[in-house]
């Protein structure tokens, strides 16, 4: 179905949440592959991050369990953008720790 081999369709790759998640950018041959990705992997896809490279190819960003990265890399071009948990911790330092409006 739209570039997904039968071997992929019929397997479910179990996630290992306790290892954390990667923020990744995935290169797909078609937007139609997204439902298959969602069925097969524990993955949180960010649809607004879709970018069309040409008529068929798209890039999409997602969070994936670290445990499925190797399997996914064997089927798709996947680039790691960051470690979700580390990024979340880092981002929390960008948040105001006081109420600046109370000072006024």
């Amino acid at each position: 179905m739209n570039g997904i081999s039968n071997s992929i369709k019929n397997k479910t790759v179990k996630s290992k949440d306790n290892n954390g998640r990667w923020w990744v950018r995935i290169h797909l041959a078609s937007i139609q592959e997204i439902p298959q990705l969602q069925k097969k992997y524990k993955i949180e896809i960010f649809p607004p991050s879709f970018r069309r490279i040409d008529k068929k190819n798209v890039l999409v960003d997602a969070y994936i369990s670290k445990g499925v990265l190797d399997d996914m890399k064997s089927k798709y071009t996947v680039r790691i953008l960051g470690d979700v948990e580390k990024l979340a911790k880092q981002a929390s330092t960008y948040v105001s720790k006081v109420n600046r409006y109370k000072k006024k």
Binding site: P48, F50, L87, A88, K89, A91, Y94, V95, N99, Y101
Partner: protein, 679 residues
């Protein structure tokens, strides 16, 4: 101004309170009614300057998804900037994009800006503690949280509505980041958003601000947009299981004029954003930009006027800012400028002229309209030119009525065009006539002339100069007309009538466009103990052969009045046609024509009238007023064509009881022959 750290939840609330306290009369704090799971009260503000009473509302929403912190910062900055600029009488500057002080004033004094910057504070507080999080924080089924932006009542139960080849398992999985909840509007956060739109019915524009993806999007989100097949719509269960697949038969209906408006507004937002620092977002329909979505905000908000025609049409947009959920503060500073420029442009759109012609006296220009659609008080016929139209026809609280059109002579038409927007506007008006018909299909229209009206004041109206209707042609069997007026301007285009391909298209079209109105009111002088005879046509719309109802309502005639309907016998021949309170005389001979008598109370209905597509069979209503009819009084008689329970249109005949020396005029039967016309 360098961006300081992201606002925390407490600060967002304090920012709104501070704005409201410091700007009484300009900024009002609105308390949302539903507490979040963790007991937080959320607030919105309404920015509304000047004294204008009836203004368009824009709702700007942020903070629905917990980790998209910058949405709240964007909205708080927007709130503070526009208040400050208005108070100081200055313009706004977002790097390369500037708005003049006049534009700021135009926005603030003509638009109600509703800002709800932090719809999901529980989620945000948790996320800002250092954990990636998207949903709210309500525990359910052993998991925590519902995706508020999948909890709206729009195709919420995706497995029912969409093509089975699509995958929606994540919506039904409580551990998923996009779990849609146990039922539509199950969450306090989505209920609060709905409450705002319910409570402030002037809201006509909605922007839901998210990250990330650099996109400016508009409805629909469930399938491709199309303006041809109105039956292809989210509420039609016949298409359950077929939605969401691009390039197939099903696609979602949107009026062409609405599609033009939202595309125009989205492009304007993107142009403004581009001017800030050269960034260009991708603009387009949600379905094309992010794929299929169910239970999401924009489609729900826009769907409301389809689901319930008493609700206002709200043009709905989504913005996905940036390229990460929490970009570093320096980049967020630039993004705030980008999006605030786009939002200012959105508000400018909302403040611009919105011209319309009223369908009835109570019509305020709201789309869709809910009252009568065939009794425009703004289309006026006079036998002689009016010396001072602005004075003589200037009282818009009354219907000045129309003279009966004089066949063969010049008649004079006047149109009153209204401007709901905050700026003066020019407009052009096109006038048409049609035979007296229960539903005024554009196929029956004949062009009369076009007239320009300049400088229609903001929130005001203007009467056109006289449009001469030269040597009014004899329409043949009837001396009665339907008159149609259509208006357009540079920012509010003429409605496109070419898309009306069915009776339901016609209903939707007339209700959803305030730039078109028609007057189907005709006058007939009749003596006491005399007959009036009014020929009219019933329209068979293109598309499938529909069953129509024809209601004949003479309930306001004097008690002893008699009403007859002359029609072709074959029209009533279909076996499912039913006559309610209408008597059929026993046929003495097999004539083509038949006289039906309306029974007691002069209120009768023909149900399931089958009219072939694109035909306009002619009927004649004959009314006899009794001797005791009061002279100088007007008696209304209504002829209403319905499609199911929906009114397609109606004719109002006003019988003017006159006195005279001549003998009562008895109209001979069959003076008007019936004929079938191809439209």
């Amino acid at each position: 101004m360098p961006f300081e750290p992201y606002l925390n939840v407490e600060e967002i609330e304090s920012a709104m309170e501070t704005a409201a306290i410091n700007n009484p009369g300009l900024c009002q704090l609105i308390t949302l009614p539903n507490l979040t799971y963790e007991g937080r009260t959320t607030h919105a503000v309404r920015i509304s300057g000047g004294t204008l009473a009836d203004r368009t509302g824009v709702l700007l929403l942020g903070g629905v998804h917990a980790r998209e912190w910058g949405s709240s910062d964007i909205l708080i900055a927007f709130m503070e900037n526009i208040i400050e600029a208005y108070n100081n009488g200055t313009g706004l500057s977002y790097q390369g994009k500037t708005y003049s002080s006049a534009e700021v004033q135009q926005i603030v004094e003509n638009v109600d800006i509703f800002i709800f910057p932090d719809a999901n504070p529980d989620g945000k507080a948790f996320s800002q503690g250092g954990t990636d999080w998207r949903k709210n924080r309500r525990p359910l089924n052993g998991e925590i949280g519902v995706d508020v932006n999948r909890n709206y009542d729009f195709l919420w139960d995706a497995n029912v509505y969409f093509d089975p080849s699509l995958y929606f398992g994540y919506l039904y999985t409580p551990s998923s980041g996009t779990y849609h909840g146990p039922s539509p509007f199950s969450e306090a956060e989505s209920q609060n958003i709905k409450w705002l739109i319910d409570t402030y019915p002037n809201i006509a524009f909605f922007v839901d601000i998210h990250s990330y993806g650099q996109k400016i999007m508009y409805v629909w989100g469930n399938d491709e947009n199309q303006s041809t097949y109105s039956e292809h719509n989210f509420s039609n269960s016949a298409f359950n299981g077929q939605r969401g697949v691009p390039g197939d038969v099903y696609s979602e209906f949107i009026f062409d004029t609405d599609a033009q408006k939202i595309v125009n507004a989205a492009n304007r937002m993107n142009n403004a954003l581009f001017s800030v620092r050269g960034k260009s977002y991708s603009t387009g329909q949600i379905f094309h930009q992010v794929g299929v979505s169910a239970g999401a905000s924009a489609s729900y908000v826009f769907s409301r006027h389809f689901s319930n025609s008493s609700q206002r049409k709200v043009f709905a947009f989504g913005i996905e800012w940036g390229q990460a959920f929490q970009p570093p503060p320096v980049e967020m500073t630039n993004i705030i400028d980008d999006i605030d420029a786009a939002l200012t442009e959105m508000c400018l759109c909302a403040s611009e002229p919105n011209i319309f012609i009223r369908d009835s006296l109570g019509d305020t220009g709201k789309e869709p309209s809910t009252g009568s659609i065939s009794a425009s008080p703004d289309i006026i016929v006079r036998k002689l030119p009016v010396a001072s139209p602005e004075v003589d026809l200037g009282d818009i609280t009354v219907d000045p009525g129309s003279d009966k059109v004089e066949i063969g002579n010049d008649n004079y038409l006047y149109v009153r065009v209204h401007n709901q927007g905050g700026m003066p506007s020019d407009a052009a008006v096109r006038l048409y006539y049609a035979p007296l018909t229960t539903s005024c299909s554009p196929a029956l229209w004949h062009f009369i002339d076009e007239v320009d009206i300049t400088n229609i004041p903001a929130e005001g109206y203007k009467v056109s100069g006289a449009v001469t209707w030269p040597h009014v042609p004899d329409p043949g069997t009837s001396h009665h007309f339907c008159l149609i007026a259509v208006c357009g301007s540079t920012v509010d285009s003429f409605p496109d009538t070419t898309m009306i391909d069915s009776a339901s298209d016609f209903i939707q079209f007339m209700r959803n466009s305030n730039n078109i109105a028609y007057r189907n009111v005709t006058f007939e002088d009749v003596l006491p103990d005399g007959w009036a005879e009014i020929p009219f046509v019933v329209t068979g719309f293109p598309g499938k052969r529909e069953r129509y109802n024809l209601v004949l309502d003479g309930s306001k005639l004097p008690e002893d009045s008699r009403v007859e309907l002359k029609t072709e016998r074959r029209i009533l021949k279909t076996k499912d046609t039913k006559l309610e309170n209408i008597k059929t005389p026993a046929p003495r001979e097999k004539t083509k024509e038949i006289f039906l008598k309306i029974g007691k109370g002069n209120l009768g209905t023909i149900r399931n009238l089958r009219i072939a597509p694109r035909t306009t069979p002619q009927l004649v209503i004959r009314i006899h007023l009794p001797k005791n009819a009061k002279p100088a009084k007007e008696y209304p008689f209504l002829i209403v064509q319905q499609l199911g329970r929906k009114t397609l249109g109606q004719i109002t005949v006003l019988l003017r009881c006159v006195t005279g020396k001549k003998k009562p005029h008895h109209v001979k039967r069959r003076t008007v022959s019936l004929s079938k016309k191809k439209t």
